[in-house]
Amino acid sequence: MKIIVCIKQVPGTNEVKMDPTTNTIIRENVASIINPFDTYAIEEAVRIKERYGAEIYGLSMGIPAASEMLREAISLKIDKAMLLTDRKFAGADTLATSYALSRGVEKIGAYDLIICGKQATDGDTAQVGPSLAKTLGIAYATDISKIIELNYGFMRCMKITDDGYEEIEIKLPALITVVKEINMPRLPSIKSMRNAKSAEIEIVTSKDAAADENRTGLKGSPTQVRKTFVPVHDVNSIYISGSTEEQSKKLAEILLGKES
């Protein structure tokens, strides 16, 4: 079978520092990492490969430098990687991103399963997975916490919900998004890191992917950012002092006052 894992490069930290005098954002050279949720997606694909046999493609859309991140994904045992990179993809919202990724998927060709992380830690929207599935016209299920069984044509798995879990069955080809609970990603081995160094990353432009320019990048994005601002957290912290007994008593009074 063939599995495609979607991988996003995100900033290693979400901390946005403010310059207090100019009230603007300070962006030091923040290292980029594989979106943490995508590491579970990669690991799950590798586990399926080990259990059932599969070929794994890593797919990303991003700046040219994201090819190094895909190299890291190869060291985590995916087989091949494709990077969609083009100025025409820039400024994409979740819909335009999903469309571009769908062009990458079509270029890779027939597949059985697409695995995405639940969401990316920079945007936190959790929209690209479902949106990609709809663009491709395949079934999807979000927040998968366990794959129980995979047969040709069907997959049985557990999905985490607000109310507990659901056991579901999905007809393949399909897309799933996975949560952290699904596995514990392994670390790369020396050998796999060496392999990754020489691996070839397929670079695909908008034209290569035969993408409709009206549907990619800023042009293909129905949503626009009108403004951005750093929220002000003016917290007035009150320290409760005294002996442990006194502290507990005071806090209890505060809590009971708030509750009513």
Binding site: E15, T24, K134, A139, Q224
Partner: protein, 395 residues
């Protein structure tokens, strides 16, 4: 296509744009701003430049006629015939927006044997309720519910559709928006309406809440947004209020490639997203058996038990209770952080919380910077005493 460039003659190298760029996409080269490949064409820098040195050209968009889209919809999510509280919260916000835009608020209620809920929806602020009842709508399914919603949106043409960001809502909303090729903004914390342009101004956190972005969807309809539970406050229900209730004809059943085999529900009260009070434990709790101390406090307050990531990684708590960037985002009224240091990844999971209480032995723990009430002390000593005080007071 859209384009951005620096007009070198006008640029004075003041670096203001460098600070305004959320993506680190501007460098200063030879004392002039230089836009690198990280640029996403968001336009933030152009707005910041006092010298008009940034030429930002948006695409000319053929203005579509959007005037046939009117009204505000709220997807009224129910489970086992009980409405999710987030739906009530959305009606309160929808009422605000409807007054500005002078259009009615419509609830869309799908399920089986649920039409008795319609009156409740009116009491909470709906002017109209569209009800569709069928056996095949009994259980929520992304695809089935999504397809029904798409048919209804195409028929009735609402300009705004609001959906609760529950686990079901977050999965349903992108199905609808991507099929209709319209915009969807996740987890909005502020919603306002611009009457002139009839735009929904959708403000949401990005980068784990460290940056807020106001997003609009100018050329596509409906404008869709999801909102997490507890972000808005519901109105006090007025059961004398009546509304127009329409029972919709049922289309032929929609098949899904995803079949539910069974539900395994958590015990009552374990749902972090709905809890008013969360007692959350971190590494400072010391051992698995001490978690009981926090559980007892949560029970005495009628709250739920949460945890930080290290506690889940240790196997002391299930993943379903993890708060933070890789766990859940919560928005209770009161959040009591017990022995949690407050790493940025944990704070990312705290949405709009009225009161944060922090108990930590380390006076320099970052959690104290965001807490309203702080106790520097050993959580293992304070928890039992606190529980005792609460229990006695409640007697």
């Amino acid at each position: 296509m859209a384009n951005i460039s620096i007009i070198k003659e006008k640029c004075v190298g003041c670096k203001k744009c460098v600070g305004a760029c959320p993506f680190g996409a501007i460098d200063i080269k030879d004392k002039k701003a230089d836009i690198n490949e990280k640029c996403t064409l968001c336009g933030s820098c152009a707005d910041s430049c006092k010298f008009h040195a940034i030429n930002f050209v948006r695409d000319e968009i053929v203005q579509k006629d959007l005037s046939s889209y009117r009204g505000i919809w709220v997807f009224a999510e129910q489970r086992y015939g009980k409405l999710k509280t987030v739906s009530f919260e959305l009606f309160a916000k929808a009422r605000d927006l409807s007054e500005r835009l002078e259009v009615p608020v419509t609830a869309v209620l799908l399920g089986n044997n649920i039409k008795n809920l319609a009156q409740e929806l009116c009491a909470y602020g709906a002017d109209e309720v569209l009800v569709m009842e069928a056996e095949w709508l009994d259980d929520f399914n992304d695809h089935v519910y999504g397809e029904v919603m798409i048919q209804l949106i195409n028929e009735y043409k609402p300009e705004i559709v609001l959906i609760g960001a529950t686990s079901n809502g977050r999965s349903l909303a992108p199905h609808i928006s991507s099929t209709l090729r319209t915009g969807l903004t996740a987890d909005c914390t502020v919603l306002e309406a611009d009457k002139g342009e009839r735009l929904l101004l959708q403000t949401r956190p990005a980068f784990g809440g460290n940056l807020m972005a106001t997003i609009v969807c100018p050329n596509n309809r409906p404008q869709m947004a999801t909102v997490r539970p507890k972000v808005f406050k519901p109105l006090v229900p007025d059961y004398t209020k009546t509304g127009k209730i329409t029972i919709l004809p049922v289309p032929s059943p929609i098949e899904s490639f995803v079949k539910k085999i069974r539900n395994i529900d958590n015990e009552e009260g374990a749902n972090l997203s709905d809890a008013d009070i969360i007692v959350s434990v971190g590494r400072g709790i010391g051992s698995e058996k001490n978690i009981q101390l926090a559980q007892e406090l949560a029970d005495s307050l009628g709250g739920a038990l949460g945890s930080s990531r290290p506690v889940v990684d240790q196997g002391w708590m299930p993943y379903s209770q993890q708060v933070g960037q890789t766990g859940k985002t919560v928005a209770p009224k009161i959040y009591i952080a017990c022995g949690i240091s407050g790493a940025i990844q944990h704070l990312a999971g705290l949405a709009d919380i009225e009161t944060i209480v922090a108990i930590n032995i380390d006076p320099d723990a970052p959690i104290f910077k965001v807490a309203n009430y702080c106790i520097v002390g050993d959580v293992r000593e304070i928890l039992p005493l606190l529980t005792k005080e609460i229990r006695e007071a409640k007697k």
